[in-house]
């Protein structure tokens, strides 16, 4: 390779960035592991590990019932169990009557709960709490194990209950 050609390639390969300040530092996926907590409906982002309702029950009593009530029946914060019919525009939205994807349960518990101590649960604990809440709502069996393969397959009752407001804005 001639020197000239090499220089041309070098300029070409960095040319996209040449005009900008280029002040970001490169990141590896290892650098991102503590922060990379998005879970998508197809299961992308779900970590290894697993949990069951039986393991989730004592965790829930210890870490969640303070706000969400015993057995998730509601307290100073939302009820997590039950599917009252949606009768009006201000009907309560619950996991079983509204949430379209079970993966959102794992994602939200892992990033935001418990309210006083977010990011303190292990992935197995998040799977167990997800399994407990889904089982209390009879969306999975009492014995079903939740993991990266099974959780995205849980069919939520209101999966198809949504209409994009401005589809042209989603392009």
């Amino acid at each position: 390779m001639s020197t000239l050609r090499f220089l041309t390639l070098a300029v070409f390969s960095t040319g996209t960035f040449a005009a900008g300040p280029n002040l970001g530092q490169p990141l590896t996926s290892a650098d991102l592991s503590a922060w990379s907590i998005n879970v998508l409906p197809d299961g992308t982002g779900l970590p290894p590990g697993s949990g069951t309702a039986a393991k989730g029950a004592p965790l829930f009593a210890q870490k969640c019932a303070h706000c969400h009530g015993e057995g998730g029946k509601g307290g100073i914060n939302a009820s997590l169990v039950g599917a009252p019919p949606i009768k009006s525009i201000d009907s309560p939205k619950t996991i079983a009557n509204f949430w379209p994807y079970a993966t959102t349960l794992f994602d939200f518990i892992r990033r935001a709960m418990p309210w006083q101590q977010p990011r303190s649960l292990t992935d197995d604990e998040v799977y167990s709490l997800s399994a407990y809440i889904l089982a209390m709502n009879k969306l999975i069996g009492e014995q079903d194990e939740m993991n990266a393969q099974t959780l995205p397959k849980v069919r939520m009752p209101n999966r198809d209950g949504f209409i994009p407001r401005f589809p042209e804005k989603m392009q």
């Binding site: 996209t16 960035f17 900008g20 300040p21 280029n22 002040l23 970001g24 530092q25 490169p26 990141l27 590896t28 996926s29 650098d31 991102l32 922060w35 990379s36 907590i37 998005n38 879970v39 998508l40 409906p41 197809d42 992308t44 706000c67 100073i76 914060n77 949606i86 009768k87 009006s88 525009i89 201000d90 009907s91 939205k93 509204f98 949430w99 379209p100 994807y101 993966t103 959102t104 994602d107 939200f108 990033r111 935001a112 309210w115 006083q116 977010p118 990011r119 209950g161 949504f162 209409i163 994009p164 407001r165 401005f166 804005k169 989603m170 392009q171």
Partner: protein, 425 residues
């Protein structure tokens, strides 16, 4: 002398009647003011004043100009702080009065330690310090931010007895300065498979929202400054995502991470909270836009009129679709309308102050405004909005959220005593 004959019912005057100086003759109902008292020097004029503080705060006589707090003791739930529109003027919300919603308090972020990561479907995952971002070419723009739940009590079947702060206080407007997000995404190199961007905050709930990549590459900004100073803690210090004209919750505060993806993440806030239920039981999802809206701030409940005579009616109009094109005002419950003056500058996706002079004759009056945007959208009537979106099953609390994305009209009734209350018309 300009035309000051009323141009619509109940004493609305031509919007140009008092512009560019000069007196105007008002035909119709005229109040003769009583004679004034003799003038005397006040105590503050006869001695030196206060020390000038290092960081100024408003006059001690303006304590009422404060935000309305929904959870002042910080109980384990969301805190809302609502802007007192009835005590403000112009188009800019002072930083200390900008609305805030914090789902688990405002984090106290050390700017030296904060990082913004861009990764996912990009050629080069990157991380930025605040110092690095502050070296990028910046842009400034005025834009409103509005919570998707602002004005939601107006879904109630009967008018909630509350003022403009409770009803509409979850919208504010500021000049934001920061780095165009497109510049950072170009440096990271967007993978052609990317369609969405999942934005995440560094707050305790790690609030996350999915944003279509087209919006991220259009007018999105990593905002570092608010009305010239660094962001307030409640507005995302040291950096937030700014998506002009789009649902407040998507303008992720305390921004720490942007992951480019092929599909939306269906996060808690997009798949549950900001998915308004429709009358048939289905729900809208990915509403995104804050649609054209207006409301009268002066007068409004709590600002009683002090007897018949001249008043300026003014309020705020805005649209997530662009500039405000026109605001019409009625003083007779929508029977007749007059065009309001729009205060310059009229900016895209920013608050626009509208004003119209009014000669109140002391009889009952019913005030309402209606706005049009440059894209041709018009603020729906209440009947049109209810036909599409329905009404709540019961009257909401003054700061309740029976649904989201209400942009119908707000109506104030004025009784002969001058007091103002919320009605439907």
């Amino acid at each position: 002398m300009r035309n000051t004959v009323p141009v619509a019912g109940n004493g609305l005057l031509d919007r140009r009647a008092f512009l560019r100086g000069g007196a105007a003759l008002i035909s119709g109902y005229i109040v003769q003011p009583a004679a004034a008292e003799p003038l005397a020097d006040a105590p503050w004029s006869k001695e030196p004043g206060m020390l000038v503080p290092a960081y100024g705060v408003p006059s001690s006589h303006e304590k009422a100009a404060a935000r309305m707090l929904s959870n002042p003791k910080g109980e384990p739930r969301t805190q809302h702080a609502r802007t007192p529109h009835h005590l403000l003027q112009g188009m800019t919300t002072p930083n200390g009065l900008h609305f805030v919603i914090s789902h688990a308090g405002d984090p106290d972020i050390d700017p030296q330690m904060h990082r913004l990561a861009i990764h996912g479907l990009v050629k080069r995952p990157l991380v930025f310090t605040l110092e690095a971002l502050a070296r990028y070419p910046m842009v400034s723009r005025f834009t409103f931010v509005e919570c998707g739940g602002n004005s939601a009590p107006l879904f109630s079947p009967e008018p909630v007895q509350a003022g403009v702060q409770a009803l509409h206080g979850l919208a504010s407007c500021a000049e934001w300065t920061g780095v165009p997000l497109s510049a950072l995404l170009e440096e990271a190199g967007v993978d052609p498979k990317a369609r969405w961007m999942v934005a995440e905050g560094a707050d305790a709930p790690h609030l996350s929202r999915s944003v279509p990549l087209a919006k991220a590459l259009d007018d999105a900004m990593i905002a570092l400054y608010q009305n010239g100073e660094r962001l307030m803690p409640g507005n995302g210090y040291p950096m937030r995502l700014l998506l002009p004209g789009w649902e407040g919750n998507m303008n992720v505060k305390w921004l720490r991470r942007l992951e480019l993806t092929a599909a939306p993440a269906m996060t808690y806030y997009e798949s549950r909270t900001y998915a308004p239920i429709l009358p048939d039981g289905k729900a809208y999802r990915f509403y995104f836009l804050q649609e054209v809206k207006s409301f009268i701030t002066h007068p409004s409940p709590g600002l009683a009129l002090k007897g018949p005579g001249f008043y300026e009616i003014s309020g705020i109009a805005y649209s997530g679709n662009g500039r405000i094109a026109k605001v019409m005002v009625s003083a007779d419950g929508g029977a007749t309308w007059a065009q309001a003056a729009l205060q310059e500058p009229v900016l895209s996706k920013a608050f626009t102050r509208f004003r119209i002079p009014w000669q109140w004759n002391g009889a009952p009056a019913v005030l309402q405004s209606r706005a049009w945007d440059e894209a041709g959208n018009v603020q729906p009537t209440r009947a049109q909005l209810v036909a599409l979106r329905g009404q709540a099953s019961r009257v909401s609390a003054p700061t309740g959220f029976p649904s989201q994305h209400f942009n119908g009209p707000t109506t104030w009734a004025i009784d002969p005593a001058g007091s103002v209350r919320h009605v439907y018309a």
